[in-house]
């Protein structure tokens, strides 16, 4: 069991007023037990190439979406790679009117597909507010 001094990807217990999502509440040793993976690709499998390229792409995509949907992202984005197709699954809070959301979705899809030279598909879900798992 990990020592109580580890601080990786853990939200420390506080007064009880900090809302925390399911993703943030669980520590990394719960991956594959209570958590799933945020980015699914074959780069990290044994004897498969391309792990570093996928990691760089993931980092870029997370910053890109953090910027194109300022303040509206409810949770971390989930990236799925199926044979050259990149599927980005977002959960957004309802801060913008739908017409603006459609424009942002189209802009993101075309820009990323031209940049990465592969089809990019965005799958959105809007949620009234951030889904809180517990308060720490």
């Amino acid at each position: 069991p990990p020592s109580p001094q580890t601080r990786a990807a853990r939200v420390r217990v506080g007064k009880g007023d900090k809302p925390v999502t399911y993703e943030q509440a669980h520590a990394p040793h719960y991956i594959a037990h209570r958590k799933g993976w945020l980015s699914l690709h074959t780069g990290n499998l044994a004897e498969e190439p391309g792990a570093a390229e996928r990691a760089v792409e993931d980092a870029f995509l997370r910053r890109f979406f953090y910027g194109t949907f300022p303040g509206i992202l409810a949770d971390e984005i989930v990236l799925k790679r199926r044979a050259n197709l990149l599927v980005v699954c977002l959960v957004l809070a309802r801060g913008l009117p739908p017409s603006k959301l459609y424009f942002l979705v189209g802009y993101a899809e075309t820009l990323l597909s031209h940049f990465y030279k592969c089809p990019v598909r965005l799958e959105l879900q809007t949620v009234p507010a951030k889904v809180v798992y517990k308060y720490l």
Binding site: A8, W37, L40
Partner: protein, 163 residues
């Protein structure tokens, strides 16, 4: 009264032959495969289990006989890295990457059956799962090996060796 009837989808001219451009028929003899071995690798065992069910079901529907489905043991790749950016050599972090395997072996296929099955099964590969395919071809024995060599050589007369 045919006033409001739409003739959009009706076959007004049935002279066109219905040939699917994707299907091609050739007269060459088909390549036969003795065994088609699919090795599926993934991080998540539940995903591999559901994919195994799907692949076995697809093979049964197409009439392909499944030889065996076995799960080779998982491989864990462990890394021990320094926890801190600058010093503190005694404090390290350990990461591990687990790869689960699942091997599906199919018996006696033709090349077109194999192509159809592989296309279907590969289009529905879940994300984060990789697949390797090995095909074992059946070929005819080449002509120069078909008869044993000692039958084809001209008969040599035995000469007595005087010791």
């Amino acid at each position: 009264n045919l006033m409001g009837v739409r003739l959009a989808g009706s076959h007004v001219d049935t002279q066109e032959s219905k040939t699917n451009p994707l299907v091609s028929i050739s007269d060459e003899p088909e390549i036969l495969y003795k065994r088609l071995s699919l090795l599926v690798k993934g991080h998540d065992k539940a995903v591999l289990d559901s994919y195994e069910y799907f692949a076995v079901l697809a093979a049964k529907e197409l009439g392909i006989s499944v030889e065996k489905v076995h799960k080779p043991p998982k491989k864990i790749e462990r890394l021990t890295l320094l926890k801190s950016v600058h010093i503190y050599k005694k404090h390290r972090v350990q990461y591990e990457m687990r790869t689960h395997y699942m091997c599906l072996e199919l018996k006696y296929l033709t090349s077109s059956t194999a192509a159809v099955y592989l296309e279907y099964v590969q289009r529905n590969l879940p994300e984060g799962v990789a697949m390797e395919v090995k095909k074992t071809k059946i070929e005819k024995i080449p002509e120069h090996i078909q008869e044993p060599v000692w039958d084809t050589l001209p008969q040599v007369e035995e000469t007595e060796v005087k010791s």
